[in-house]
């Protein structure tokens, strides 16, 4: 479902003496449907970079990035947008929303984007918010004023609203209490059961051992010397 073939990534800083910083080379991996793979490696090894390359947020310098048959490294913007709408979900560490939009709608939005019936979308969003212990009295408010942990849970609810066949999870259990962490882990297990291919970053070792089928150390893809 998610396949990387010999992918490399570098940053060119034109305004700082055109320094070229290679951050990833020879990255190859393959994640099948129903499988969850953890990315490991020290901070700065390139875990998030790899996820962003898969999401099309960073432009790969070379190699192929296949998600559901589409080569993200070469696809047109509208193809990537369609991929993100229907196939590839991403739970980032930060919630980015339009101010003023109520939490319930923020969570239902990915469902509405794929043409789901409005009431069905709101019902599913409500179910997720309830499972993640966001009090109902907050649903009509914008999440911009919520606490860090609440925003994180809204972000997770939004990420799991649509049943994406492929998902990227960036520290989904960070800053959550035991009960909410448990809910998130079961959401991940349910996603695997319905056949989602998942790539995740988990600093929480216990969580990683529970939901992940194998680990890939991204240090293998970190260029040894910085030019």
């Amino acid at each position: 479902m998610i396949e990387l073939i010999n992918v490399s990534k570098s940053f060119t800083l034109h305004n700082q003496g055109s320094a070229v910083i290679p951050v990833m080379q020879g990255a190859s991996l393959n994640v099948a449907a129903g499988e969850c793979v953890a990315l490991t490696g020290a901070s700065g090894a390139g875990k998030s970079t790899l996820m962003r390359v898969v999401y099309g947020n960073y432009l790969a310098a070379s190699g192929r990035v296949l998600v559901g048959g589409l080569d993200v490294a070469k696809a047109e913007p509208r193809e990537i947008l369609a991929l993100r709408r229907e196939t590839l979900g991403y739970v980032s560490q930060f919630l980015r929303v339009v101010p003023r939009v109520p939490t319930l709608e923020v969570v239902a939005e990915p469902l509405l984007a794929v043409g789901c019936d409005k009431q069905a979308a709101l019902d599913k969003a409500a179910g997720l918010l309830r499972r993640l212990n966001i009090p109902e009295r907050l649903w009509s408010l914008s999440p911009t004023t919520f606490s860090g942990g609440e925003q994180q849970r809204v972000n997770i609810a939004r990420g799991f609203a649509h049943d994406y066949p492929a998902m990227l999870l960036d520290e989904p259990t960070a800053s959550l209490d035991a009960q909410n962490r448990e809910t998130v882990l079961s959401l991940i297990e349910e996603a695997k059961e319905r056949g989602a291919a998942i790539v995740g970053i988990f600093h929480d070792v216990e969580a990683r051992n529970r939901v992940c089928d194998r680990e890939i150390n991204v240090s293998e893809f970190t260029p040894g010397m910085v030019a």
């Binding site: 940053f11 034109h14 305004n15 962003r52 947020n57 432009l59 913007p77 339009v98 101010p99 003023r100």
Partner: protein
């Protein structure tokens, strides 16, 4: 799928100076594209060439019309282009005053566009005007007030209502949030996003505000000195800019 708009090698010169040069792209139905760049980079010139306000010196602007399919709007007759700009196109000016009739009531401003496409029943026109005032969050009791009695943010929302009432398929926006304070901007952005989703609009938004394009635009084009220096998916261009100028632009934004 046929692109709604195909722009091919558009060039506009002001004497020896370049307004914009060699700009080409396709816009598909439902897509929102942002054009950013510093002032003087040619983004408004480009927008005006596409919308038929300026005649480009070279190039084509091919629009997929409902009746005849793709037609080059640069070479079409003036009456045809005017009809298009009243029906399938809309243009939201930076200054609401440029897009409104200041001496006509709010309802009249909305109704005028309906009458221009053949609506004649006063009651229907008034009802639709009131419906649209509601959609852009202006109280219906203000329907008979003149826009000169409105705040800047309300004028901008009225301009949007006037433009969208005829159900256009393509909206050109020139700095739609420029000059408004941030709380009003947020409200306008939320409104525009909702309308784009509900009506399946395509839009081209010229702005110098990167936060606005991040929220509204699917795609982004970066202009400098009349040329497109970088184009792509909005978050990719903003998070991983490739061109020196885009890197400078992105790194110059103040963090709040």
């Amino acid at each position: 799928m046929t692109p709604l708009l195909q722009v091919k090698s558009i060039e506009k010169r002001y004497g020896a100076r370049i307004g914009c040069s060699d700009v080409s792209f396709d816009l598909f139905p439902g897509e929102v594209m942002g054009i950013v760049g510093e002032s003087g980079s040619g983004k408004s010139t480009l927008l005006n060439c596409m919308a038929g306000h300026l005649e480009p010196d070279a190039g084509q602007v091919i629009f997929d019309t409902r009746a005849d399919g793709p037609v080059d709007t640069v070479t079409m007759s003036e009456p045809e282009r005017r009809m298009l700009s009243r029906t399938d196109w809309a243009f939201v000016h930076q200054h609401a005053r440029d897009g409104l009739r200041m001496s006509v009531s709010a309802g009249g401003n909305i109704g005028e566009r309906l009458m221009a496409v053949g609506d004649r029943h006063y009651g229907d026109i008034r009802d639709r005007a009131i419906d649209w005032l509601g959609r852009v969050e202006i109280e219906k009791s203000r329907v008979d007030d003149r826009p000169s009695a409105f705040s800047g943010g309300m004028q901008q929302r009225l301009q949007i209502a006037r433009n969208l009432v005829t159900g256009p398929r393509l909206v050109f926006m020139d700095e739609p949030t420029g000059g408004l304070d941030v709380s009003v901007q947020a409200r306008l952005l939320d409104l525009l996003r909702g309308l784009v989703r509900e009506m399946g609009l395509s839009a081209i938004i010229v702005t110098h505000d990167l936060a606005v394009v991040r929220l509204l635009a699917d795609r982004l084009m970066v202009m400098k000195s009349g040329h497109v220096v970088e184009a792509g998916l909005t978050d990719q261009v903003l998070d991983d800019p490739q061109h020196a100028y885009t890197q400078l632009l992105v790194s110059s934004v103040l963090q709040v």
